[in-house]
Amino acid sequence: MAKLMRNKGSAATLSVPDIPAFRWWHGIIIGLLLAYTPGSLLVGGVLLLPLVFLRLIDPEADGQRVMVVMFYLGAAMVHPLRVAWSVRGDWATCLSEITQPTILILDWLALGAAWLIAEVGSMGARVWYAESERQRRKAIEARIKALQEEWIQPDSSED
């Protein structure tokens, strides 16, 4: 899994981070959604705004990071989207949904949580790596010292 992620990560750093590559079918889908369920699209669009914000402020936010954040945003979007679905995209209801402060706060908190957990995790991993590297160096130094004492240094106590 980690290997897979690393591959993905390296691929992401190579691609252009800020402007997603829009294709023609992206336009058709958005056009159809605008035509038939503008309310749901509004709910989705507003709730996905933190993602846009992330891409704008975090230059390191690659596809991998976006995917992670999507899970969190998705978790926050489950309820509003279900409401939008149940009212069949009623514009007024969708508008009231996206103006509810609880939903907006939850949505932005989801982004924060995703970012925070990733950063804390990476910090923890860094600490852990540093510690294991220190242990390794200590073991090597001890081995060098033992070898030198046995094979290199003439001992003064002998003669």
């Binding site: 992620m5 899970f71 969190y72 081995r143 003669d159």
Partner: protein, 655 residues
């Protein structure tokens, strides 16, 4: 012989107690001490301390005859040979010659001595010790008893009068084994002395005796003008002949009867003498002798063809003269051998023509080639004066051994040729080169030769184990300072040659490889001594091991492993306490172990290099770690995100 205060008594062969403080008159040319048989009888006997016994001593001691003093035992003590024999039955002849009649002389002297010579003839030995101080009156005073033979170098202690001319001209040490004819001559002189009641030519110096014998012939010089018993006269004239072939054989003498006649080809002197320098010479033999004494005058006579014409005209020796004329030309400097002075070679060759029975004249001295090992041994025993003598004899020996073809010449007498070839073979068998070859010669020639090292010659060491005991006693700091030990080793060159010869005799050459292997000299010595300890099954030598411990400890520096060094140091201490040289060496000098140690050390060095490289900071490392950490963080976040999303869905739809 140790210091008398230090070692007054010595036990030989568990039976004979030797009082080294009670020295008696020499017997057989050896220092003699009073001894006692502490076995059953408790009787008194003599202990003889020979320094240079015959190489064939064991065979000689096997000879048994009523008129030959027999030996009870011969044993080594601390490497020195001791010979135990009984007291002589009567006083020596030097105390006074008896007034014996003709028959008494034949029965009491001629027959017994001839019988002994016959025994020696059977064993292919020579006696070379028939002289008044080695002959004793037997019990009843009616016959003579010969002292123990073979205990001194042949002819070494013979007065000049008792030696035939062929060895009388040589230095006592250069007389060589000789032949039975030499013994017959000595016997003849003895019998003449018995007849006259005194030694012939008494009161003259050796030089005068030689001069007179050479000019007149020995027989004429000894007997001339005096009356001999009728029955003995013809035998004595024959025995005293200067031509060995004219002397009677031991069996002729054994069957001697007063009426027996011996024929003799008379040698007549020249009608007119030849003047060489200030001396008038009457015989070719005397000319040969004077040629050696005045080589310049002789060369001039030789070049002016005076000698050849004198031989032809005054001596009727036409063949001798033409030989000299023929060879004279071939000795001119046309020879390609620049190292040899042609005049020297000419004199040597002409002397051999003038007197074929004479010894070799070379390098300014007369000697028999087979006496060269003995001459080297004699030079080695001279103490302070040894250096010059040793150098001269070594040069002669090394020339002869290096140029045997010079002596493989039709004019070189057969006896000399054979002896030179034997010497060359003896030298070649060792496979040693240079000064060591010369130094080994006395030991290779004679297994009973005492070690000639000036440090131990007084101890008369003739066995390998004696050297080890000597080293054990003389390895203290006072006698062998540390610098001396590291620079010159425990032993000296003579001792090494002595041991090398004995090892070669026992076919144990492996111990000698160390000498050539370029090891430190003390180390090579230690290897030799360890081999001695093994071969001679000698006990512990704690003084040597203690002395060598610091040096061997230093050797442990070559070991790279610290624990290996510590382990070996402990083992060394153990071996030192046991006094075991072989064990000591096996610990300190272990080439296989050392190679293994070096290989392991190399591997350790490689490992250290690899580890040091691994410790170097990797420039990519931090970036890689950062990325890895970020990925890990995102992974954690992703898992949590999936969990949150699923929880959210569960909340929305399943409640």
């Amino acid at each position: 012989m140790q210091g008398k205060e230090e070692l007054p008594e010595l036990m030989i062969g568990d039976r004979y107690l030797v009082s080294q403080s009670r020295r008696l008159a020499d017997i057989g040319g050896c220092p003699t001490f009073a001894a006692q048989n502490v076995g059953a009888s408790g009787s008194s006997c003599l202990a003889l301390a020979p320094s240079s016994p015959s190489p064939r001593l064991p065979e000689i001691l096997m000879l048994r005859h009523d008129c030959l003093m027999s030996v009870y035992a011969h044993e080594h003590s601390k490497g020195a040979l001791w010979v135990i024999c009984g007291h002589p039955p009567g006083p020596p002849l030097t105390d006074g010659f008896p007034s014996w009649g003709e028959n008494q002389i034949i029965e009491g002297a001629v027959r017994p001595l001839a019988a002994i010579l016959l025994l020696m003839q059977e064993a292919e030995l020579t006696c070379r010790a028939i002289r008044p101080d080695n002959l004793f009156f037997g019990s009843g005073m009616n016959k003579l008893v010969l002292g123990p033979a073979g205990l001194a170098p042949p002819g070494m202690h013979q007065p000049l009068v008792f030696e035939p001319l062929s060895s009388a001209v040589c230095h006592p040490a250069a007389r060589g084994d000789g032949t039975l004819a030499c013994d017959v001559f000595s016997m003849g002189v003895l019998i003449v002395s018995l007849c006259f009641g005194e030694v012939p030519l008494k009161g003259l110096t050796d030089e005068q005796i030689l001069e007179r014998r050479l000019q007149m012939g020995s027989a004429e010089a000894y007997i001339g003008g005096r009356s001999l018993p009728d029955g003995l006269a013809s035998m004595l004239w024959a025995m005293l002949s200067d031509d060995p072939a004219s002397r009677p054989s031991p069996s002729d003498l054994f069957t001697m009867a007063p009426s027996k006649l011996f024929s003799l080809r008379p040698e007549s002197p020249a009608r007119v003498p030849l003047r060489i320098g200030t001396v008038d010479v009457w015989t070719p033999r005397a000319l040969a002798w004077h040629a050696a004494r005045a080589p310049v005058e002789f060369s001039s006579l030789l070049q002016r063809q005076v000698i050849a014409s004198w031989l032809r005209n005054e001596l009727k020796q036409g063949r001798m003269a033409s030989l000299i004329e023929q060879t004279g030309g071939s000795f001119l400097p046309s020879s390609d051998r620049k190292a040899i002075d042609p005049a020297t070679l000419a004199i040597t060759r002409v002397i051999a023509i003038l007197d074929p029975s004479a010894p070799l004249f070379w390098g300014g001295r007369w000697f028999w080639p087979n006496a060269l090992p003995q001459m080297l041994a004699y030079a080695g025993s001279l103490g302070d004066k040894r250096q010059n003598e040793e150098r001269d004899v070594s040069m002669i020996t090394s020339f002869i051994m290096g140029n045997p073809e010079m002596f493989d010449h039709p004019l070189v007498p057969e006896a000399q040729k054979t002896q030179v070839m034997e010497l060359v073979v003896l030298g070649q068998r060792t496979g040693v080169k240079g000064p060591d070859r010369i130094r080994r010669l006395p030991y290779d020639n004679n297994p009973l030769q005492v070690c000639l090292s000036p440090r131990c010659i007084v101890d008369r060491i003739s066995q390998m184990s004696g050297i080890l005991s000597w080293a054990e006693q003389h390895s203290s700091e006072n006698e062998l300072p540390v610098e001396g030990l590291t620079r010159n080793g425990l032993l000296d060159a003579e001792m090494r040659s002595f041991l090398a010869s004995h090892f070669a005799r026992q076919r144990l050459t492996s111990a000698l490889e160390a000498q050539k292997a370029g090891l430190p000299i003390w180390n090579a010595d230690l290897i030799l001594l360890a081999a001695v300890q093994r071969v001679a099954e000698q006990g512990a030598v704690p003084a040597i091991t203690r002395r060598m411990f610091p040096l061997l400890k230093q050797e442990l520096r070559h070991w790279r492993s610290r624990t290996g060094r510590a382990k070996r140091r402990l083992a060394l201490e153990d071996a030192v306490a046991q006094g075991n040289l072989t064990k000591l060496l096996r610990i300190a000098e272990d080439p296989h172990g050392l190679r293994l140690d070096q290989q392991t050390a190399q591997r350790a060095e490689q490992e250290i290099a690899r580890l040091v490289h691994a410790l170097e900071p990797d420039p990519d490392m931090s970036a890689r770690n950062k990325r890895l950490a970020r990925n890990t963080g995102e992974f954690v976040s992703l898992i949590t995100g999936i969990g949150v999303a699923m929880t959210s869905v569960w909340f929305e739809f399943c409640r």
